[in-house]
C-alpha cells in the first residue's frame, strides 16, 4: 500500500513539474487582433498590491482553477447537498466539532514549533476539555468556557522560521496555496495520519473518516466558484490568499 502510494506520489510530482512548466496562459492572438487602447502601466511596482505577487505558474494555476470550479460544481457540491439532506443538523454540528477537535493536535504541535506557548496551552486546554467533557470532541464546551479557538499550521510554522511563501500554487480540489503552504499541508497531513494510527484505525476506516472530514469542511465553506461573477476572480483570490497568509504568519 505504502509502496503504491510512494510510486503514485512520485509520478504525481513528475506530472506536476511537467504541467507547471508546460502550460502557458499567454493569449494566442489572431492576425487581426489589435493591441488594447489602454497601455499597461510602465512601472508595475507602482500598482502596489495588484502586482505584488508574481505568478510564474500561472498557466498551470489557471487550468487547475478551472478544473476545481468544474469539480466543485459537478462532484463536491452535489455530495455536500446530499450529505446535508440526509444528516440531521445536530449530527452535522457534532461531526464538525469532532474534526475541529482532531485538528487541535496539529495546531498544538505548530504553536509549539513557533514557541507560542500561550497558544499551545490554550489549544491543549481546548483539546483536553472537549475530548473529555465534550464526548470525544462532539460537543464544543471549551469555547463557551472562554478557551478561544486558534489556528496554526505547518505553512505558518515555516513562515515563522523565515521560509518565503514561494510561488502561488492552485492545488487540485483544495484550491489556493503556495509552494510553502502546500509543503506544510503534507506535514500536517502526516501528523493527522499519525493520530489516526494511534487510534488504531484500519486503513479503510481512515479513508472514510478523511472523506467525511472533507465533506464536512466543504459544507462549512460558503465559497462558490465564480460566485463573484467577476472575470478577474482568479486574480482577486490570489491576492486575498497571499495577503491573508501574510497576516496569519505575522500573528
Amino acid at each position: 500500500m505504502s509502496m503504491l502510494a510512494n510510486k503514485c506520489s512520485r509520478l504525481f510530482v513528475i506530472a506536476l513539474c511537467f504541467l507547471l512548466l508546460a502550460c502557458t496562459s499567454q493569449p494566442r492572438l489572431e492576425s487581426t487582433a489589435i493591441t488594447p487602447i489602454i497601455a499597461i502601466p510602465d512601472n508595475l511596482a507602482e500598482l502596489g498590491v495588484m502586482s505584488a505577487y508574481a505568478d510564474p505558474w500561472e498557466g498551470f494555476n489557471r487550468r487547475m482553477y478551472y478544473f476545481n470550479a468544474k469539480a466543485d460544481e459537478y462532484v463536491l457540491l452535489p455530495i455536500v447537498t446530499g450529505y446535508k439532506q440526509i444528516t440531521p443538523d445536530v449530527v452535522e454540528t457534532g461531526l464538525s466539532n469532532f474534526f475541529n477537535n482532531l485538528a487541535e493536535i496539529s495546531t498544538f504541535i505548530n504553536s509549539l514549533l513557533q514557541f507560542k506557548l500561550s497558544v499551545a496551552g490554550e489549544t491543549l486546554g481546548r483539546f483536553a476539555v472537549n475530548t473529555s467533557l465534550g464526548f470525544a470532541g462532539l460537543i464544543d464546551v471549551a469555547t463557551p468556557m472562554g478557551l478561544a479557538a486558534q489556528d496554526e499550521d505547518f505553512g505558518q510554522t515555516l513562515g515563522f522560521w523565515g521560509v518565503k511563501a514561494g510561488p502561488y500554487l492552485v492545488l487540485p480540489l483544495l484550491g489556493p496555496s503556495s509552494l510553502r503552504d502546500a509543503s506544510g499541508l503534507v506535514f500536517d497531513g502526516l501528523a493527522d495520519q499519525q493520530v489516526m494510527d494511534e487510534l488504531g484505525m484500519k486503513s479503510e476506516e481512515e479513508l472514510y473518516l478523511s472523506l467525511l472530514n472533507s465533506i464536512d469542511a466543504r459544507s462549512r465553506l460558503p465559497f462558490r466558484y465564480y460566485g463573484s461573477g467577476s472575470a478577474f476572480e482568479y486574480d482577486y483570490l490570489k491576492l486575498l490568499y497571499k495577503k491573508y497568509r501574510e497576516i496569519q504568519v505575522a500573528r
Partner: protein, 431 residues
C-alpha cells in the same frame, strides 16, 4: 482540509471590507460615527431591525440572448441569473434592482429582500445592468451601461421575460407590481417607471428610489477621487500597505484566530481608520466593480480598451494584463472615452454637458415631480450626493421623500428605523 478552512476565513476577511457583511447578531457597535464609516461597516450604531434570519431563495436563470454569442471567457456567466422569493399564496410582487456593479444576490439586496418578504411581497431580484452577468447576457451591444434611459429599456425587457418565466415555472400569482432599487438601481427604477407609463406591462403601484444618485456623473466623480491613482499613486499604494499592516497587527493582538461579527467590529475599532483611509477603501471597492464592468463591456462590445480587439479570449487565458490596464482607468475616463464617443456616434451634436444631464434624474424631473407613486428614501449624509443634491431631491419629492439624518451610502438597510419606514411606506402593498 486546512486550506479549506483558511479559505473560509479569507472569505470572511474579504467580506469585512464590504459594508453589511457585518450582520445583525451584535446589535450595536461603538465605532466613532462618520458617513464613511457607515458606508464601510454599516450604520452599526443604530439597533438592527428584526428581520427573518434566512429566506427560501429560489436561484433562477434565463436565456436572454443565444448562449453561443457569449464569449468563452464568460463560460460561468452563460444565462442571466436572478432570484425569486415566493409567498405561499397570491401576493403583491416587487422587483428589486441592484446598485452599481452589484449582483442580484449582494449583501445589500439580501437586507431588502428580507424586508419586503416580511411585508408579504413576492420578491424578484435583478442584477445591475453594470454587473458582468447582465452585460454579457444583454442583447444590447449599442448603448453603454450607465445610459439610464437605455438601461431601463433592457431592464424592462428582462423584467417581462422573467415575470413570464416565474409564472410558468413557479406558479407565482401577483396581485400588483411594485419596483425598487438602491444606488444606481434607484435611478434605474425611476426611468423604468417612466417607461412603464407608456408600455403598461406592470402598471406599478409603488416605486421607491433608495439612495439614488441625482447625477451619475457627479456621483462617480466623487468616488473616483477617493482612489485617485492618476494624481498620487505612491501615496495611495503606501496608504493601502499601511492599512493592511495595521489590520495585521490588530489581528495578531486578538486572542482568538476566529473572525466573527464582534471581532470584526473590534478589529475596525482597534485599527481606527482615518477618514482618508475609509475613503480609500470605498474608492478601491468602487474601482474593483468598475474594472469588472469595463472588462465585460470590452468583451461584449469588442471595444478593445483593456482587451485585444477582434480577439476571442479563451477560458484559460491570463487576464492579469487587463486587470493592470483597468487599474489606470477612472470612471471619468470611461465616461469621456467610451460613453461620450458612443453617444456622439448616434447624434454628433451632443455635448458632454448634454450627456451628463441625460444620465441624471434632472432628465425626468417633471415626471418625478408629478407622479405620486414614486417615493424616495435616502440619507442626509449620503456620500455620493454633491452639495445641494439632497435639497434638490427634497424639492422634487417633497412629502414623498424620507431623508434620514445618518447612514452614509446604503449603510442602514437592516437598521430599525429604515425597516420601519419601509413598512410604513408599503403596508404589505395594501394601501
Amino acid at each position: 482540509m486546512r486550506i479549506l478552512s483558511v479559505l473560509l476565513i479569507i472569505i470572511l476577511a474579504a467580506c469585512s471590507s464590504k459594508p453589511d457583511a457585518v450582520v445583525v447578531s451584535k446589535p450595536v457597535c461603538d465605532l466613532a460615527y462618520s458617513s464613511y464609516q457607515a458606508t464601510v461597516t454599516g450604520y452599526c450604531q443604530e439597533a438592527a431591525a428584526d428581520l427573518p434570519e434566512s429566506l427560501d431563495i429560489i436561484n433562477k436563470s434565463i436565456t436572454i440572448k443565444p448562449l453561443d454569442e457569449i464569449s468563452e471567457v464568460f463560460w460561468f456567466n452563460k444565462k442571466m441569473k436572478y432570484s425569486l422569493i415566493k409567498q405561499e399564496a397570491s401576493a403583491p410582487l416587487i422587483f428589486i434592482i441592484a446598485g452599481t456593479g452589484a449582483s442580484y444576490d449582494s449583501v445589500k439586496m439580501l437586507s431588502l429582500q428580507k424586508s419586503f418578504f416580511q411585508q408579504g411581497y413576492h420578491v424578484i431580484s435583478l442584477s445591475s445592468p453594470t454587473f458582468a452577468n447582465f452585460i454579457v447576457n444583454s442583447p444590447n451591444t449599442r448603448y453603454m451601461p450607465g445610459d439610464l434611459a437605455h438601461d431601463a429599456e433592457y431592464l424592462y425587457q428582462v423584467m417581462n421575460l422573467v415575470w413570464a418565466q416565474v409564472q410558468a415555472q413557479d406558479a407565482v400569482e401577483a396581485l400588483s407590481f411594485s419596483l425598487t432599487g438602491y444606488s444606481l438601481g434607484g435611478a434605474h427604477s425611476a426611468f423604468i417607471s417612466l417607461l412603464d407609463e407608456e408600455k403598461k406591462a406592470f402598471n406599478f403601484e409603488k416605486v421607491l428610489l433608495i439612495n439614488p444618485p441625482v447625477s451619475l456623473y457627479n456621483s462617480v466623480s466623487i468616488l473616483d477621487k477617493y482612489f485617485d491613482l492618476g494624481e498620487n499613486r505612491p501615496a495611495a499604494v503606501a496608504m493601502f500597505d499601511d492599512i493592511f499592516s495595521r489590520f495585521s497587527i490588530a489581528y495578531a493582538a486578538q486572542r482568538s484566530s476566529k473572525f466573527d461579527q464582534g471581532s470584526i467590529f473590534s478589529l475596525f475599532k482597534n485599527v481606527a481608520l482615518t477618514e482618508a483611509e475609509l475613503k480609500l477603501l470605498i474608492g478601491a471597492s468602487f474601482r474593483i466593480s468598475s474594472s469588472d464592468m469595463i472588462f465585460a463591456i470590452d468583451v461584449s462590445f469588442n471595444t478593445g480598451a483593456i482587451t485585444y480587439k477582434n480577439h476571442s479570449i479563451s477560458k484559460l487565458e491570463s487576464l492579469t494584463h487587463s486587470l493592470q490596464r483597468a487599474s489606470d482607468i477612472t470612471f471619468g475616463d470611461y465616461f469621456d472615452r467610451a460613453m461620450l464617443p458612443r453617444a456622439q456616434r448616434e447624434d454628433a451634436s451632443i455635448s458632454k454637458a448634454d450627456l451628463i444631464e441625460r444620465y441624471s434624474l434632472h432628465a425626468i424631473e417633471d415626471y418625478l415631480t408629478a407622479s405620486d407613486k414614486i417615493y424616495l428614501v435616502t440619507n442626509q449624509d449620503d456620500i455620493i450626493l454633491q452639495a445641494g443634491e439632497v435639497e434638490y431631491l427634497q424639492s422634487i419629492f417633497t412629502d414623498r421623500a424620507k431623508i434620514f439624518p445618518r447612514g452614509g451610502h446604503c449603510g442602514n438597510f437592516d437598521r430599525l428605523s429604515f425597516v420601519e419606514h419601509l413598512q410604513a411606506r408599503f403596508q404589505g402593498g395594501l394601501n
